[in-house]
């Protein structure tokens, strides 16, 4: 125990100031009223769905939880069930094999709900899809082809700061 405490004290606080929201990432108009956003802003529950990514975006979503970005410090946490969630974080071009699972997950999230698409593939199909967000025998292309997307964060993968920005944009008033 002494070693653990010593290491914690020695490490100190690493958390950095969170980024500002970025309106250029918004696809759909903000549908939520300010008072609801205030509630969300204080305690947001996120359900993450990998709909076909290469696992690169997941690495950065994990990183958002590390001490530097400290997502939970802002009252935002990842939950295990869509029924507990306010916001879906979706990665990947949506593979045809994940299409139904993604739709069902979306349906299971109670209203009002938000969707943030994370990464190049989620925004436009990326490298796995033929040009123009196109579909292939195995993918449906971008996430917006399958469920409504409020905010889209490009990048391959987007940095943790960009992911934070995307989440914060979704829960801030336009």
């Amino acid at each position: 125990m002494y070693q653990i405490l010593k290491q914690i004290v020695k490490t100190g606080i690493k958390t950095e100031t969170p980024p500002q929201s970025d309106e250029s990432l918004r696809l759909l108009e903000q549908r939520l009223q300010q008072d609801i956003l205030d509630v969300f802003g204080g305690a947001l529950a996120i359900r993450m769905v990998d709909a076909g990514s290469c696992n690169g975006c997941e690495l950065e979503i994990h990183a958002v939880n590390n001490a530097y970005y400290n997502l939970e410090g802002m009252g935002i946490k990842f939950v295990a069930s869509p029924r507990h969630a306010d916001l879906l974080l979706v990665t990947g071009p949506v593979s045809r094999h994940m299409e139904v699972a993604l739709k069902r997950t979306y349906d299971a999230v109670p209203e009002p709900k938000l969707v943030v698409a994370i990464g190049e593939c989620a925004c436009d199909g990326g490298i796995f899809s033929p040009a123009g967000g196109g579909e292939s025998y195995a993918t449906c292309g971008k996430v917006a082809n399958v469920i409504p997307v409020d905010v889209a964060v490009p990048g391959c993968p987007p940095t943790p700061v960009a992911i934070l920005q995307g989440i914060l944009t979704a829960i801030r008033a336009a």
Binding site: D50, G52, N66, P82, F128, S136, Y137, A138, T139
Partner: protein
Amino acid sequence: MPIKHPNLQLTRLTDAVPTWAGVIAAEYLPEICQQVRDGGGRLVALWGSDARQQRGCDTLSAEPTDCGSNRDAPPPAPEGCAPPCQGRSFVLHVTLINETGLVCLHVPLAEAHPHYPDISHFFPAAARMQRATYDLLGLHPLEASDHRKWLRHGAWHGGSFPLRKDFDAAASRIDEADDYPFVHVAGQGVHEIAVGPVHAGIIEPGHFRFSVIGERILRLEERLGYVHKGIEKRFESMSLLQGAKLAGRVSGDSTVAYAWAYAMAAESIAGITPPDRALWLRALLLERERIANHLGDLGYLGNDVALSFGFAQFWILKEQVLRHNATLFGHRYLMDSIVPGGVAVQLDAAGKQLIEQECLMLQREVAVLRGIYEEHAGVQDRFIGAGRVEPKLAAQLGLCGLAGRASAQAWDARVQFACAPYDKLDVRMATYRNGDVAARVIVRFDELFESLRLIGQILVNLIHEEGATRALEKLPANGFGIGMVEGWRGEVMVAIHTDAQGNLARVHPHDPSWQNWPVLEHAIIDNIVPDFPLINKSFNLSYSGQDL
């Protein structure tokens, strides 16, 4: 010569790792597999290709082919070895490995009802690869015990095969629910727990079907293929350099390993060797990828046994490595740093200094954390004995990579088949024989320290010189090449076939997870359900890499 058989003529490919290739009739395949298995060898990969439009091996046909929107595409004419010209239609490719090196067997199959003898009774790991090869190309393993679909769910119908050159995506499209016949365990008190594809965490999707009595797991059956996004088909419409980017995204956590294996395969076809400096840089990037992933896993393994301190600490270290990657190489995960022909990054004297300091810091900090993990009774109580894979079972099933080394399977491509620059590095392999979560943790610690030591040596050898490497943009026609790299998870292999125009006719990336996923089903038997996340994490296998 790695294997001898009267009907097999092997030709050495110009590969960085010792590789041979040869053509063999399907009927002799079992004999050769048995010979390799009895000699302690393993199966690396199994895939197929569609060579029906190959006009002939020596004449390049300039006339346009009438294959609709598909590009004309006659694949494998392995360099130097007599290609199976007559009756050439489909080809099955089987890569085996023994102590001498890699052997790729090309097995020509008939056009009508292409079939070959099942090899899964020699190499159990072949079963899923054979099922996937059927789903994608319609090559049929005769007398295999499991004929269920594997990568196909309900997106295209069973009689159409996406990797055939005449595949019509629109006509093959169906939208039906995936009806998959799981094996049911019957008996008093047995019940099923179905998990996924969407998991309760930040993980890739897959389905796990547990049959349990109370908390105890009787059987686990995996159902993967959810993130199948047609990677192999995508390669066929890409240039060599676009393909390098895609190869780096087969499994995002192993981008360096895949990009290097892809580059190695391309360089083998072109018959070139990248400059020394590029090779040293590649090794530096690969070891940095190993370090970052091991740090992340060690943190999560602590987290999974309720020591969130471990997660916090290891992820602080990982973040520092990632930030240095971004500063020095322009990408946190080192994507697109390796290109066929060389590397797309540079390292100056200040960068070397930064890495040296980082290595010293990691050496110090990880040693402290290792001490804490080892002395923590609660952590060790959960780690020791959980998810055990005995060495005998590991050998039988072909467990490979990091998990294999934790079960006494002493294979590490950096040691046995040390390609440049590993031939100058004398890598020390980490092996244990307990095969439990604790052993997989120890192997990670040992490999982490070994990577730090290797980086020290690499930096000494990395002579500073200006001048970018020239990327390889085009490959010779009708070529075939293989690249294999020991990624952090295990051996990553990429095979490239070029057509008569030198375009990519077929690219097959192979992840070590193909071998290791089935072993997880065994590792979990008799453990309790709450230990599954821990055991699963200790393997940390790729979904995207095997779903393709």
